[in-house]
Symmetry: C3
Subunit: 347 residues, 3 copies
Amino acid sequence: MFIRNAWYAGAWGHELGTGNMLSRKLLGESVLFFRKSDGTVTALRDRCSHRFAPLSIGRREGDCVRCMYHGLVFDAQGKCIEEPGRKGVSQNTDVRHYPTVERYKLVWIWMGDPARADPDLIPDCHFQDDPAWASDPRYIHYDADYRLILDNLLDFSHLTFVHENTLGGSKKIAEIRPKIEQTPEGVKMTRWYLNEPCVAPYLDGFATFDGPVDRWHVYSLSTLGNVFVMDSGSAPAGTGAPEGHRVPEAMQFVATQIATPEDETHTHFFWTYAHNFRIEDAEFTRMLGDRILAGFLEDKFFIEKQQEMIKEGGAEGMAFILADNGLALGRRLIEQEIAKETASAES
Amino acid sequence: MFIRNAWYAGAWGHELGTGNMLSRKLLGESVLFFRKSDGTVTALRDRCSHRFAPLSIGRREGDCVRCMYHGLVFDAQGKCIEEPGRKGVSQNTDVRHYPTVERYKLVWIWMGDPARADPDLIPDCHFQDDPAWASDPRYIHYDADYRLILDNLLDFSHLTFVHENTLGGSKKIAEIRPKIEQTPEGVKMTRWYLNEPCVAPYLDGFATFDGPVDRWHVYSLSTLGNVFVMDSGSAPAGTGAPEGHRVPEAMQFVATQIATPEDETHTHFFWTYAHNFRIEDAEFTRMLGDRILAGFLEDKFFIEKQQEMIKEGGAEGMAFILADNGLALGRRLIEQEIAKETASAES
Amino acid sequence: MFIRNAWYAGAWGHELGTGNMLSRKLLGESVLFFRKSDGTVTALRDRCSHRFAPLSIGRREGDCVRCMYHGLVFDAQGKCIEEPGRKGVSQNTDVRHYPTVERYKLVWIWMGDPARADPDLIPDCHFQDDPAWASDPRYIHYDADYRLILDNLLDFSHLTFVHENTLGGSKKIAEIRPKIEQTPEGVKMTRWYLNEPCVAPYLDGFATFDGPVDRWHVYSLSTLGNVFVMDSGSAPAGTGAPEGHRVPEAMQFVATQIATPEDETHTHFFWTYAHNFRIEDAEFTRMLGDRILAGFLEDKFFIEKQQEMIKEGGAEGMAFILADNGLALGRRLIEQEIAKETASAES
């Protein structure tokens, strides 16, 4: 089950050139994306209304797409405008059109009730294209339920163990209880690790200071769209980072991580790791991204193994530990939203 | 669900040599074919009655087959005639025997009530071995429901699009409504495209005339066995082809296409494309077959994609367009026949 | 369905070194085996109690294992002894511990009620480590229901056919009815083939005598654990083998074959083929094992094909023949035991 009335990241804008078509399964439905001549993106159900051939193996004709099985043509709104061999078209031949908005380098898609698709609801991911920040858009495919990915992000105690030699590097991460807040959008969690002996392994060679460090992770999950934005950083210890002061040596990052369900057990994971220093240095941006990727692949390994165990024996009976307050809140908010949608659909 | 009381093409005769055994799943059941010393073919359930080892991994012993697990021997009628370690045989040890007839280069098999297996019901495919015609026997395996293949054959509007550069080559095919008739066997459809500028691409270099052409497709589906026979051809325009006159330059073909279900979502496709000119020219027959194959692989690509979409979201909700009269009739006749068999089985 | 209250062979002792962890699915559950510092073996559910990550991708810490997802530590009894970030541990965080005993080179595991795990119930497989006998421990993985393997072992008539050129080599095996007895543990079957012209093919070059031979197979199945022990041999004909006399040229073997279910349709097969002559000759032991393996792979081929046929059309309707008394008894005893466990679980 998925929340449907939400903006989901469906594709990176750069995946859509001027002539190509992209087919991607989202929430169990194959969706066709393409960019129109005016530069905007459109999204249709990637399935001809007639005999269900995918439109993505059809042909772009201007801002329309022709199903190359029997030749029906659909405009960018999914309206069937040509049926070979007759004037006009038969009934019920339109294909579903999904509202889309391109923003923050991403194509956002609304899979629920189109009337509710208010662009103002798109979560703020402006760090992805804010000129004061630099990042590379990245993608990982998961053979796992998206909720296992959210669980992972909502319990940073795993950094100590899964990411011992990459993103973690400190026992304190697992020892310190975060501050957890429910927000209008979802969950906010705040952790500070003060006076740690050194920076995390993934920052080796990047730091311009030696000695003890104050580290922080402040992250927010928007349960609509599964968008996770994390403010994190490392500053020389005792230079006022917790109070908001940033000395020039401080390294600050904003990570954006978005888990869009492909189906019940597969997930599209879009992410960036923006930095506001050395922003002109594309090689640095790439190296930083690669180091973060190494850490994220550690997550992927664990999460996909979890999924295998759930396939073996179900998901019932997981023990609840102290570190689970964040993920439990996230799970509860998602369940409530799905229940609300289900109730609304039934009434 | 399949019609069971019908002659299905189970194998090409040439697949059965003097000593080999052929195992092929038909209508969900593994069937063993072999050729007896008198040259006729027999078909048994490819499953020992005892512990269900396939007989096809057993041993031919004359016109019998020995299960090489525990040594039971079955004659060509499936009767168990030897059980090692005892005189006579135990009860219920016979395996199912299916009526077969070898005709038109094919081995036909009757998977339903043997009492109804009248060879006169075998659809006429005589063009496959009529000495006035030449063709190569061909086979394609489909990862798709056989009904999707019939749909394809019953809506030739797809020639314009799927086969734009092979079998089609004319917009008229999609534009002209065929004449559709229900026949005692199933469906007959007739289409003429007069005064087209040139022959279809697959005939490039084969035609002995230039200039405009009259083309036709007259095809008949027998829903018992899913046998499709198509009279098609191309003649110089205005030379009387529609009235039945064939000038020497006219090229006439009879295609036979048979979709035998392997199971619910896989199909055996047996076909020939017979021509009645250059019939001594084996190289021409082969080249013609290869060009037709190129077109049929285009169908396969679309049809298997359709199957994937149906797997994703079911087959409900396909829109009905004007071109669908033929396929809708075919579907209805098959459903009626299955319903009749089901009712008869229950009463 | 499996008998749970039984000792199953879970691993060869040599699979567990001093530092490694072995994950193996048994009766549908992934189990983690490792050897403690005192040399004994322990077995835990290979699934963290918290978020179900496999412990086998965690870390050995002395005799404990740390889940490397969120850092929980479990002792060798499965007790959670550390939860990062708090004193003590949360409730319900222990993982299941299974009783194990290492004996006869095997690690035996009890998947049922631990209170009933009496080591005296372990079937006698002492030939595997008796210094008067030599054998190599071997393993085969089957894509088949374990009961199909037991069926195979309980009907030696298949030796004549499946193993015509390896373990069999005599028509008599299929012709002679064995003596079948129900024992407290399961089933015992006895067969003698007297005055056969020569030894079985797998003994070619191993026999130190020529001419006729008395052969025997006396085998016992313990249905608890699916342990099959077979006394077999070949002696010069007429030298008193049936009466228990063994001349020096007689070759005697004790095979141990154990079918531990992985899940409903996959099986772990542990086996040895012990001989009490040339026991210092490791090369002979290896060659003998390889020849037996060739025969066992013939079984595997047939049994996995049976499984495929059962997948195609179910297991109902197998005919019962005279040779089936042994396997029918084995099946019945297993079914009775499962029914007893089910009834006991429900009451």
